[in-house]
């Protein structure tokens, strides 16, 4: 294992060094902007997104029983990342008046249908899971 770890470390450092070479080919103002976006990604994820998710869980979790928690967890995991992925499409920030072939799907109604479908699927899956786990028990809570 020691050899494997050393090999991975060496390969990783070589890849990082290549990345550094590519980065240094960028003009300085662009390099600074990339650095700002990389740092901003850490701050927004660790400092905003996760705390919001944890806060939501702390507020909602204790009010739900096992089945409710299972349903909400499934729904958040299914729809949360999808919502972030869909931001550029739902927001249409890159839309161009002269190009109707870009961002031309029915994104908003489609998104609503997906969220509703995911909610139903999450509820059904949570109900099934709690039935098979207990036969009877805490579903009613």
């Amino acid at each position: 294992m020691r050899a494997a770890r050393l090999a991975l470390g060496a390969l990783g450092l070589a890849l990082l060094a290549t990345g550094a070479v590519w980065l240094l080919r960028l003009p300085l103002p662009q390099l600074a902007a990339v650095g700002g976006w990389v740092a901003g990604g850490i701050v927004v994820h660790d400092g905003v997104l996760v705390p919001l998710v944890l806060l939501g869980g702390a507020l909602v979790g204790p009010r739900l029983g096992r089945r409710g928690r299972g349903a909400v967890l499934r729904l958040v995991v299914l729809v949360g990342p999808l919502t972030l992925v869909a931001v550029p499409v739902l927001g249409r920030f890159g839309a161009k008046a002269d190009n109707p072939t870009l961002l031309d799907t029915p994104a908003v109604p489609g998104y609503v249908v997906i969220v509703l479908g995911a909610a139903v699927a999450s509820g059904v899956a949570a109900r099934r899971a709690s039935r098979s786990a207990h036969g009877r028990g805490e579903e009613g809570r």
Binding site: G12, R25, P81, D104, A133
Partner: protein, 395 residues
């Protein structure tokens, strides 16, 4: 700062930052992180390799000649690139959630341990920042949204190397933890503790796999037969003039008036002189038909039937010998993609066309009227439109 004041600051922070032990432990930890991490590694690996291929294919003179067959190679690799990057979003978010309490782990006191701790922190910071950067810039680029001041191609490529390097280092550091975690079952066996209200780790993992699948199907399935209508969150429906979407219109390229010019001529230059051809003369040459995809890095592609004159025939008129490249120039006066270089291997392929028709009609202005380049296995941005000049040059 004096050591005493440093100690005071450390104590102040220690009292205010949450204790990693105090986070709700269920579902978190190495057993989740390792399982999600394996698939995240696969997704990032696929995105890295296919991304490198795209950079290679976009070099004016690739160091190794790229194959022109199969014609769909660029289309499939770039579809995989965007699908893998999209699948990485839920995987990355769940992975980072599962190890989030470790953000608040207190550094060890002994100097050697502290240095190692800080190095590991730095590598993880780099990994998280680079990973978030890659998915954010990649997704925004697909929708032609550029809310930043750097060039996308150079930055996304460079940070891709950084993300790959930081990831490999991280796997090397964590290898013993990963092996132990993967050998253990996802959930402890036996009956669940009575009164337990939290979903199991298995539930979380299944939801994560479903989330990755949903994100891919909803955004990037336009290239898959039968799934086009399901991809409601794709950046394009796949519709467009003559059945093909447009990346850059004639208006945006500043050639809307130029393409209507009756005096248009194609100039072909090479070792044995130059030729000037009218559209009628091009149409009079022997035409070849080919079904070839337009495939963009942005994750969309469309196959279409093109007819035109093989570039090789035109190049041969001015002394092309098989070892020359051909530079293809557009009427566009600005834009990074107003010219492209066709490596000799691509010129030699008879399916590499100076296309005059699409779906049986003269090219729509947004598809490059009066003529455009279309070659197999080539990035969409290099399929130069509104061509007015071909230059046969030494490879």
């Amino acid at each position: 700062m004096t050591p005493r004041r440093l100690d005071g600051l450390a104590a102040w922070l220690d009292a205010r930052l949450p204790d990693p032990q105090r986070f709700d432990g269920d579902g978190r930890g190495p057993r989740t992180a390792a399982r999600v991490g394996v698939w995240l590694g696969v997704a990032f690996g696929l995105a890295f390799v296919t991304g490198l291929y795209s950079h290679l294919a976009q070099l004016p003179s690739p160091p190794v000649p790229l194959p022109t067959a199969p014609a769909w190679s660029y289309r499939v690799t770039q579809g995989v690139h965007v699908a893998a990057g999209t699948a990485a979003v839920p995987l990355l978010l769940v992975k980072l959630w599962s190890v989030y309490p470790r953000l608040f782990a207190r550094p060890p006191r002994p100097a050697r341990a502290l240095v190692l701790h800080l190095l590991e922190r730095a590598s993880i910071g780099l990994l998280v920042g680079a990973a978030v950067f890659q998915v954010v810039t990649g997704l925004a680029n697909s929708a032609q949204w550029y809310p930043w001041s750097f060039g996308f191609v150079g930055a996304h490529g460079a940070v891709g190397w950084v993300a790959a390097g930081a990831l490999v280092v991280h796997v090397g550091v964590k290898l013993p933890v990963i092996r132990v975690a993967l050998a253990e079952p996802a959930d402890d066996p036996g009956p669940e503790p009575a009164g337990r209200t939290r979903p199991s780790r298995r539930t979380l993992l299944r939801a994560t796999w479903a989330s990755a699948g949903l994100a891919v199907v909803a955004t990037t399935a336009t290239g898959l037969p039968g799934l086009r209508r399901v991809a409601v969150l794709a950046v394009r429906s796949g519709e467009g003039p003559q059945g093909v979407p447009v990346n850059r219109t004639a208006l945006a390229a500043g050639v809307a008036d130029l393409v209507r010019d009756e005096g248009w001529r194609l100039t072909v230059t090479g070792p044995s002189g130059s030729r000037s051809l009218t559209l009628a003369e091009l149409q009079g040459m022997s035409q070849r038909a080919a079904s070839l995809p337009i495939a963009c890095v942005e994750g969309w592609s469309a196959s279409a039937r093109w007819t035109g004159v093989p570039v090789r025939e035109l190049a041969t008129l001015v002394g092309w010998t098989g070892s020359h490249d051909v530079v293809v120039r557009s009427m566009q006066t600005r834009g990074a993609y107003r010219e492209s270089r066709l490596p000799a291997g691509f010129v030699a392929d008879p399916d590499t066309l100076l296309a005059l028709t699409l779906a049986g009609e003269p090219l729509h202005p947004d598809h490059g009227y009066p003529c455009r380049l279309i070659a197999p296995a080539r990035p969409g941005v290099l399929q130069t439109k509104w061509v007015h000049r071909l230059e046969v040059v030494p490879a």
